[in-house]
């Protein structure tokens, strides 16, 4: 219960910052000022937006399927939020450490689709219906390349546990029960003879341990943009053509929940990308002979320093990815539906399948 509350608070905090950052970053990239009035540099803008939304009337359209309409936002948010349960925030801190975390995450996030369809169908609105259909088609399609990219990581790491995958990518490798005698080699290849177990840092990140995972990371990142309905894959929302897609009929608290779910999804996919590919909560600085950067920026596991360093690295890497998501949104134009499906089925999925095959071969080189 405590983990639930803490994660919720952390998530709300991140989402508030993210909503503000989105507006400011968008403004700066378009040579505008963004919010300036509420608080210093407009920093209270998103807090006030939330307060405003909570005060608004909760309108349920007369023609809507009221049960589905009312339940949908809660289901969507619950599905996304449940994903956070298996995210390790520091070496010691994980809301629920289960051995099949990756599998659980993929499964629970798929529930999101059901909620979207409920919202779109329940609204009894053509725009909402179109948005929901596009959204479902897109998310279901892009789960395949994303899933295959994640599968290649799982094959390299031989684990479905997020925490074990995290430990493998840093100098704390031997601290994880069951991995006491494991060793990290440069590029994961023992034949090269360079032991990176105690060097740590970026050299033990998954994209460095098995460089072909860099491609997997790109595929996952592109697919995750589509899964969280972000530009350039935002055809389900498409402000300029569908008004707002599946949540066009929502107002007040329910809209706030949908908004929260959307931003939580962005945070979640970035967190997963960081954990699977970019070294999780491990420091990016390697140990260089006498300069023990990795030791200095890891802290003591179990102590406060370990928690702070772990949280700091995880969140700062996540925010870099989130910034990239924002920048991509304000750089690239929206894809057409056919282009979207072409990219998914004819480009990303075949490459991802190839990566899975190569990851298997790479793993053979690693042992």
């Amino acid at each position: 219960m405590l983990a639930f509350l803490l994660t919720l608070m952390l998530l709300l905090g991140i989402v508030i910052v993210l909503a503000y950052a989105e507006r400011k970053v968008a403004a700066f990239m378009q040579d505008r000022l963004g919010p300036t009035e509420a608080g210093p540099y407009g920093s209270l803008q998103s807090v006030l937006d939330v307060l405003k939304l909570l005060q608004k009337e909760d309108i349920v359209p007369a023609a809507a399927d009221k049960k589905l309409f009312k339940l949908a936002p809660i289901l969507i948010f619950a599905a996304v939020f449940a994903g956070f349960a298996v995210i390790p925030f520091t070496p010691e801190l994980i809301p629920t450490g289960i051995g099949i975390g990756v599998f659980y995450l993929l499964a629970i996030i798929s529930l999101d689709v059901v909620g979207l369809l409920m919202a779109g169908w329940g609204s009894n609105n053509k725009y909402a219906m179109l948005g929901a259909m596009r959204s479902v088609a897109q998310i279901v399609s892009y789960e395949i390349p994303a899933g295959l990219a994640i599968l290649s990581v799982v094959m390299i790491c031989q684990s479905l546990d997020f925490q074990e995958i995290s430990y493998q990518q840093g100098i704390l490798l031997n601290r994880f029960p069951g991995l006491e005698f494991e060793k990290n080699w440069l590029f994961g290849i023992e034949a090269l003879g360079i032991n990176t177990t105690n060097i740590g840092g970026i050299t033990t990140w998954n994209i460095f341990r098995a460089p072909l995972l860099l491609v997997a990371f790109l595929i996952y990142f592109i697919a995750s943009l589509a899964e969280s309905n972000r530009a350039p894959f935002d055809i389900p929302e498409a402000e300029s053509e569908l008004v707002a897609g599946f949540h066009v009929e929502y107002s007040g608290f329910r809209f706030a929940v949908l908004f929260l779910a959307e931003y939580s999804m962005m945070v979640l996919v970035s967190l997963v990308a960081v954990i699977l590919f970019l070294g999780s909560w491990n420091t990016p600085l390697p140990n260089l002979t006498t300069l023990k950067f990795a030791d200095w920026t890891t802290g003591t596991v179990g102590a406060l320093s370990g928690i702070l360093w772990g949280g700091f690295w995880l969140l700062s890497k996540t925010f870099v990815l989130l910034f990239l998501q924002l920048q991509i949104r304000w750089t690239y134009p929206r894809l057409r539906v056919d282009q979207l499906m072409h990219l998914c089925w004819k480009v990303l999925t075949p490459i991802a399948l190839g990566i899975v095959l190569l990851a298997g071969i790479w793993r053979l080189l690693m042992v």
Binding site: V25, A27, F28, M29, Q30, D31, R32, L33, T36, Q327, I328, W330, T331, Y332
Partner: protein, 201 residues
């Protein structure tokens, strides 16, 4: 006309390059976000030479200065006005309303030395009707009617767009009218007396 086809570069690496150049463009704008466009007037030679930085002007706090010869809100310096009615006559939209009352004696001088002989119980300019042509300021003989650089004067009630420039209260105006009527009565009486005296001769 001969058509020449535009060669589009294609292929994987060209696409990657163009995607990256797009990201670079937004990144460059993001990095320049600490710079602001200076609120210089259009007369300034740097007005068109500020390609970088945020362009937003936080209007009530900062504003681009207007040109000196710009035509904005009218102002009448009533102390200098000789109530000649020329402005009201030339106005193409009839937005100036003037009523005049002759003074019984000379009532002073304007700052350029013209004698004032008329009171203005009403000198109203309806800025909601004004078309900002500036003709009234051109014909004004004492240069008391001018255009100021004030352009932000919107009102909730359109009646507040009528600007009253008279320096007389209604009571004072009434008093002046009575004084004039009295003087004219006296003059008429004097004339009649003179006429009667001439007839008797």
């Amino acid at each position: 006309m001969e058509r020449t086809s535009v060669k589009h570069k294609a292929g994987f690496w060209e696409v990657v390059k163009s995607l990256l150049s797009g990201l670079l463009l937004t990144w460059r704008h993001f990095r320049n976000a600490d710079k602001r466009r200076a609120p210089v007037p259009v007369m300034d030679e740097n007005y068109f030479k500020q390609p970088e930085g945020l362009v937003t002007l936080t209007y009530p706090y900062e504003a681009i200065p207007v040109p000196e010869n710009g035509r904005y809100r009218l102002h009448n310096e009533i102390d200098d006005c000789i109530v000649c009615d020329l402005c009201a006559k030339i106005c193409p939209v009839n937005c100036i309303t003037i009523e005049s009352v002759k003074a019984t004696e000379e009532i002073g001088m304007t700052s350029d030395g013209t004698k004032k002989r008329l009171y203005a119980p009403v000198f109203d300019i309806d800025m909601a009707k004004c078309c900002y042509c500036g003709l009234c300021t051109t014909v004004c003989p004492t240069d008391c009617l001018t255009m100021t650089p004030v352009y932000d004067f919107s009102e909730v009630d359109i009646k507040n767009m009528i600007y009253h420039f008279t320096d007389l209260t209604p009571e004072q105006a009434e008093e002046k009218k009575q004084l004039l009527a009295k003087q004219q009565e006296e003059m008429a009486a004097a004339k009649a007396a003179a006429l009667a005296a001439r007839k008797q001769q």
